[in-house]
């Protein structure tokens, strides 16, 4: 069922996702909901992998929440699907970090899926939050090479209150970081997929203002300080390519002049 139009993302939020490669949200749930999930996860004797929703069926309410549905619908279109793959991650006290990685390596980097991370407990920087590098979703990055990096300038932490959810572009660089706290930091991953090519925008799109907003937001994100000289044009053009693709608009030839103020 289509979400209420008022619940859909607007151009501003879609552009934020397009630039950064992620959006964080915290939908409303009944009091005690997240703690109940946390307690059930804590009692698991083994990691059930894809069957985590059999062990903790309340998790389905997360991925089916109207706010999540509206965001997924906005970004992936009306025919998006919840993929059967899901996973429970327990970042234990004293753990080491993962290496940087991507969950997919989409050859053309178009948005054919979303990764959803759900955190059932308050997560702060001491608890080994998921770290990510905003804007890296357009890079061809073999995971063997990604493993060579430790800290990257501009990396961010996904932190927030219990019930925080993050939607990620599957090609965004991210990793579990080291947990210095005495607490377990849990996270459940879901995957959402897009089976079709976009024919029109599936969010609250205002074409008369959107083009100017697109140029403004991309300029702000991919300014001279944030990137590499050789990469400026490519950073812009990848965002325009995805923006046009998501709107079902024709492909445009690269044109540096469009981005010059």
């Amino acid at each position: 069922m289509a979400p209420d139009r008022g619940d859909l993302l607007d151009d501003e939020l879609v552009l934020r996702f397009l630039n950064q490669g992620s959006l964080q949200l915290r939908p409303r749930f009944p009091d005690g909901f997240h703690d109940q999930i946390y307690q059930k996860l804590a009692q698991l004797r083994h990691n059930p992998g894809n069957h985590i929703t059999r062990e903790v069926p309340e998790l389905l309410a997360v991925v089916e929440h109207p706010t999540v549905h509206a965001m997924a619908y906005s970004l992936l279109g009306p025919n998006y699907q919840v993929h059967p793959h899901r996973h429970f991650y327990d970042n234990q006290p004293g753990s080491q970090s993962q290496g940087w990685h991507v969950d997919a390596a989409t050859p053309d980097h178009m948005l054919r899926g979303l990764i959803l991370f759900y955190y059932p407990q308050d997560t702060d920087v001491s608890m080994g939050p998921t770290v990510f590098v905003p804007g890296t979703q357009f890079r061809d990055a073999p995971m063997d090479r990604l493993a060579a990096y430790a800290n990257i300038r501009g990396q961010k932490n996904f932190i927030g209150q219990a019930g925080s959810i993050v939607l990620l572009h599957p090609d965004l660089w991210h990793a579990r970081s080291l947990n210095r706290s005495p607490k377990h930091r849990y996270m459940i991953k879901f995957m959402l997929t897009r089976p079709d090519e976009p024919l029109q925008p599936s969010w609250r799109h205002h074409p008369e203002q959107a083009e100017a907003l697109f140029l403004q937001r991309v300029r702000e994100f991919v300014g001279p300080i944030q990137s590499f000289c050789s990469d400026y044009l490519a950073e812009w053009e990848w965002r325009r390519k995805l923006w046009n693709w998501m709107r079902g608009a024709p492909v445009q030839a690269p044109n540096l002049m469009d981005f010059l103020v």
Binding site: V125, S126, V131, Y149, A150, N151, L178, R180, A234
Partner: protein
């Protein structure tokens, strides 16, 4: 004169005076014995030692596992490769100036320099 030069000069003097002891030998050995190699990978915005850094990875024997991503890291240990060199790191690998390049594609972040230092 390096500290090694001074240590040997002192040792020779003691030897001539006839008061070179076992403890002196141990002290000399402490200065010349092989030290573990530490590697520092620095990723710079351009393939020059003066360019700003975008990422850094320290690899050393005492590290528990592979490189660690620290959510509390406020900044990288140096601003440039040159600054790391001033702190005693020696560059042992420079990035290729003519890197593979595919028009319109984006790939890894930064040009990779590898530096080494011996000792703790």
């Amino acid at each position: 004169m390096t500290s090694l030069d001074s240590a040997f000069r002192l040792a020779r003097e003691k030897l001539q005076r006839g008061d070179f002891a076992a403890a002196d030998l141990e002290e000399l050995w402490a200065q010349v014995r092989p030290q573990p190699q530490r590697l520092l990978y620095l990723y710079a915005l351009q393939p020059t030692v003066r360019a700003s850094l975008v990422a850094a990875t320290l690899q050393e024997q005492k590290a528990a596992t592979h490189c660690q991503i620290d959510p509390l890291a406020e900044d990288l240990p140096y601003r440039s490769v040159l600054e790391a060199m001033a702190d005693g790191w020696r560059v042992i690998h420079f990035p290729d100036h003519r890197a593979p390049y595919q028009e319109g594609r984006l790939d890894m972040l930064g040009y990779e320099f590898v530096l080494e230092k011996y000792g703790a």
